[in-house]
Symmetry: D2
Subunit: 330 residues, 4 copies
Amino acid sequence: MIRIAVLGAGRIGRIHAANAAANPRCRLVAVADIAEEAADSLARSLGCEASRDPAATLAREDIDAVVIGTPTDTHVALLLAAARRGKAVLCEKPVDLDIGKVDAAAAEIEGLGARVMVAFNRRFDPSAAAVHRALAAGAIGAVRQVVITSRDPAPPPPSYIASSGGLFRDMTIHDLDMGSWLLGEEPNEIFAAASTLVDPAIGAAGDFDTAMIIMRTASGRQCHINNCRQAAYGYDQRIEVFGARGMLLNDNLRPSTLRRYDATGTEARDPLLNFFLERYAEAYRLELDAFLAALAEGTKMPLTVEDGRRALRLADAAHLSARTGRTVTV
Amino acid sequence: MIRIAVLGAGRIGRIHAANAAANPRCRLVAVADIAEEAADSLARSLGCEASRDPAATLAREDIDAVVIGTPTDTHVALLLAAARRGKAVLCEKPVDLDIGKVDAAAAEIEGLGARVMVAFNRRFDPSAAAVHRALAAGAIGAVRQVVITSRDPAPPPPSYIASSGGLFRDMTIHDLDMGSWLLGEEPNEIFAAASTLVDPAIGAAGDFDTAMIIMRTASGRQCHINNCRQAAYGYDQRIEVFGARGMLLNDNLRPSTLRRYDATGTEARDPLLNFFLERYAEAYRLELDAFLAALAEGTKMPLTVEDGRRALRLADAAHLSARTGRTVTV
Amino acid sequence: MIRIAVLGAGRIGRIHAANAAANPRCRLVAVADIAEEAADSLARSLGCEASRDPAATLAREDIDAVVIGTPTDTHVALLLAAARRGKAVLCEKPVDLDIGKVDAAAAEIEGLGARVMVAFNRRFDPSAAAVHRALAAGAIGAVRQVVITSRDPAPPPPSYIASSGGLFRDMTIHDLDMGSWLLGEEPNEIFAAASTLVDPAIGAAGDFDTAMIIMRTASGRQCHINNCRQAAYGYDQRIEVFGARGMLLNDNLRPSTLRRYDATGTEARDPLLNFFLERYAEAYRLELDAFLAALAEGTKMPLTVEDGRRALRLADAAHLSARTGRTVTV
Amino acid sequence: MIRIAVLGAGRIGRIHAANAAANPRCRLVAVADIAEEAADSLARSLGCEASRDPAATLAREDIDAVVIGTPTDTHVALLLAAARRGKAVLCEKPVDLDIGKVDAAAAEIEGLGARVMVAFNRRFDPSAAAVHRALAAGAIGAVRQVVITSRDPAPPPPSYIASSGGLFRDMTIHDLDMGSWLLGEEPNEIFAAASTLVDPAIGAAGDFDTAMIIMRTASGRQCHINNCRQAAYGYDQRIEVFGARGMLLNDNLRPSTLRRYDATGTEARDPLLNFFLERYAEAYRLELDAFLAALAEGTKMPLTVEDGRRALRLADAAHLSARTGRTVTV
């Protein structure tokens, strides 16, 4: 039985801790957060220990693995500390906003031969996984175009924007990973057009809130991503892959299949599952399970720091392209 | 070129006349209605002759075929008059509300060897025809169950109810024909449960407005029909056929594929096509064309008076079952 | 914390035991089954005690509640034994196949004031619950018609048929409960037409495999149920409720939203979730939670033995109607 | 009654001629094509005159309006000849492949005050028109992003590619017009990424077969277009408009609503309507009707040469962008 600790008791830490508590492959030993009350209340509800010192927790002899769900600027330090002590790590994305720090961390981790997985949770979503499986099975032949729609229900507070690294590093990074995964080839060119159409305060903070991106691989495959920080109708997460022999589409999820017809004559359905904690609840569960399974079975991590590094480089390139109006070679 | 006249310039006559005017297989010579103004205005818009004497029109030497779209109580007389003069006839349903008169007419028509088609337009609806074609091609194996949903957007005026022959002969008759057609076997038992849930005035007139019917064939195949004189969301026309190897479903039609997502988060679509003139516009066109094609090519009529007779007998049996609470053998 | 035991370690007992183990409102103390190996292996995987004596287990002082998932013919004895000792009970349906025994049990349970819930799991399905909530909120006005489609992917083995109580008591009973719940009024008339279209062996065993039922309430509301023991395309579970101001529809569930388009040009989707353990996994979880919530909060059980009794009486009446071809008054 | 002639008796000329013959606002007088047999056979089937001299036909005193459906390189000469004689013109797109010739023609037409409509048929598609109407009614607030999917079922023959003007001027031009129309603002920047993924012969002819385009307006609205010369699943024509208060989606059309479920368990639907003559049959009919209505009522043409000019400039800019990898300002 893998003994695990979760670092961070905020929104994302709580998800991982609850999944760890329910997963038969592991035993949740402790949750740690510098905010004492957050750690205490989470530990109490899950029946594990609480700590207000993440660094001390990851160093415990009786801990085999940690999940890092603390603020982004603490990821690298905790990740390396854990790796140096031989702990397996599931680290929330992004590894860091600075590609230089990520490069250095990746190099050290490789040198250590550490078991580290970066948490691009969407790859574990059952519908996204079904697309990838169908591609791998040759269901639609060679990929030609990928289209990813990714719009949030509401923008984060302005305070978050400032420290977020910007739209591309904070939000698009998920889609850049997904696009690379589905293209089946590394993108080597990226173009981005970006605007501020939602909230002028976002523009004033030097960021964008609405963007369209095109990536291209060496063989000519293309991927389009569209993003917006706010969609009135909810969290919009769709995928389309078009190949030589067909097309695959994923639609949004709703809480029930209920359709209502009233005197307006239209067919109405439930609102979309709103927001990532609900929409990707199953993905978070499966992601942790995949991490634990790789540990238990000694197999390759399904996602590594290299994947995090690659996505961040694409995000940086998209940022540069949006500023210059030119294609950026990656 | 078949020379054709349309008898009746009301709602249904106007549909047939416009289709005749546009069909390259025939030439619309005249429209006739005892209401002079209706005949005149229709004739003017389509560039043909007008008459206020349907009987005289059908007797014209230069007419090969007539469409009978006059009130139900005139059908048999006009149908027989036309048949006796060797004219081909497309007659609106029901042939008559009295099964005795229909039996007599059917016998005389058979004796004359007359070319008569009864207008169960729904069989020509592209989606219903696609279901029937798939059945005939063995797409789902032997039929087990048929479910027909047929609800009108709004009840007819009380005055109409009185002379309509009642829910089963007026409205269900279409579904009884459709059910028999899709079962692929003659129903020999029928059961009906009926209520007045829409308008007490309909009950006061001795009729029902909401009904559920079950038909059964000798081999045990089953058909369910549900009817209501009023559906708040519009004209509901759906078909389901369940067989040994699969299922076929037909959904309602809408004017466009538009889906709207707004701040309520639901997906909304266009209202249903509302009412039979819109919903079955294409079916009426194809029905006339099938009639003309059978004439031009000398082939069997796709629907005969016998089909009308059979549907009326089922309607009479459903009526009796609803009154007695017992299965009626047909 | 409610201390619970699960009686029966077969297919359904395993579901309940796993849900009990994961539910924070209770602690799974033991599983009991006369088949020692089944009890042992289930207990081992969930970390609880095993017993091969259900009667002894329910009598334990440290048990507050039991889930009865043993064979149908043991339900009443275990249910009454538990009730007499003051244990709360969640009992699988049907309570018994003999209405006389169910009547007697219901009377004794009422006299004891025991806390007993009958497990009509489908009422807890999120989509069915969404329909019921919408009805209660008046979304479509007064109910006029309910249509329930309920077809199994494959028939049970002939040996099961013989002891099942027949199609209506074994399979339709779920739909009879669902129909009564959605009609919002007690049905007082029922009609059934039944056939053997799937397997002659089922007919030889004196049962039917394909049926259509109509129920009617005193005010004239109507409910249609269609059943078949085998559907080539999988487990078909749909609900339609038609009311004075609109309609509600529930569709089947699939594992993902994936749609595939290939060279045939059609749009293909994932197969339906197949069979009740998968399709109603969430319903089983929510059902147990509702039972535990009612215990914890001291509120009324969401479903009682009376609901089981009512559904069985409708099943008996449907059986009689199918044999006689007449409406049966309940 | 407007007296009309159709120039060109090829694929597109036949569509326009049949629509003119059936439209009550006009009388089809003649069809003209230098290919005598094509003109004769079309004229015979529609009951009008045939000519093998388009220029002479448009000059006839008794002709009020002409539809130009001849090869692209003859458009400008016929268009100007007709305009100079005071004939109204519905001209197929593109007006010409050379923006200089289009500019000159546009200037002369404006000087003449001639009544000329350019045939971007898709604007008249009922579903596209429903999107535009909903936008105009403010259904989703200010537009932020438009996504247009436009893929052909099969590439044209290599011989056609050479004289087509290339992917952007031949195929994308429709989508550029649609995107501009739906953005509600003129795009002033365009970026294109293009590849040859379908057929190397297309690349050898100096053209692309697969492209992704992004357009941006001055206020920051964005439009994505994706194109491919070949889609295994048929003619893919979808539209998405995302605005401040919601989203509008248009899906593809199929011949019927039939859904089939078989032993694979999937839901299958009819193939897409395949190709533009079928998919846009109604749009062609409504386009001609809009042209005739504008003539009959003396109102503004719904589309002018200016619209053709604008779309061609965008196509030229997309072509340049694809060659240079840079955003092109329009």
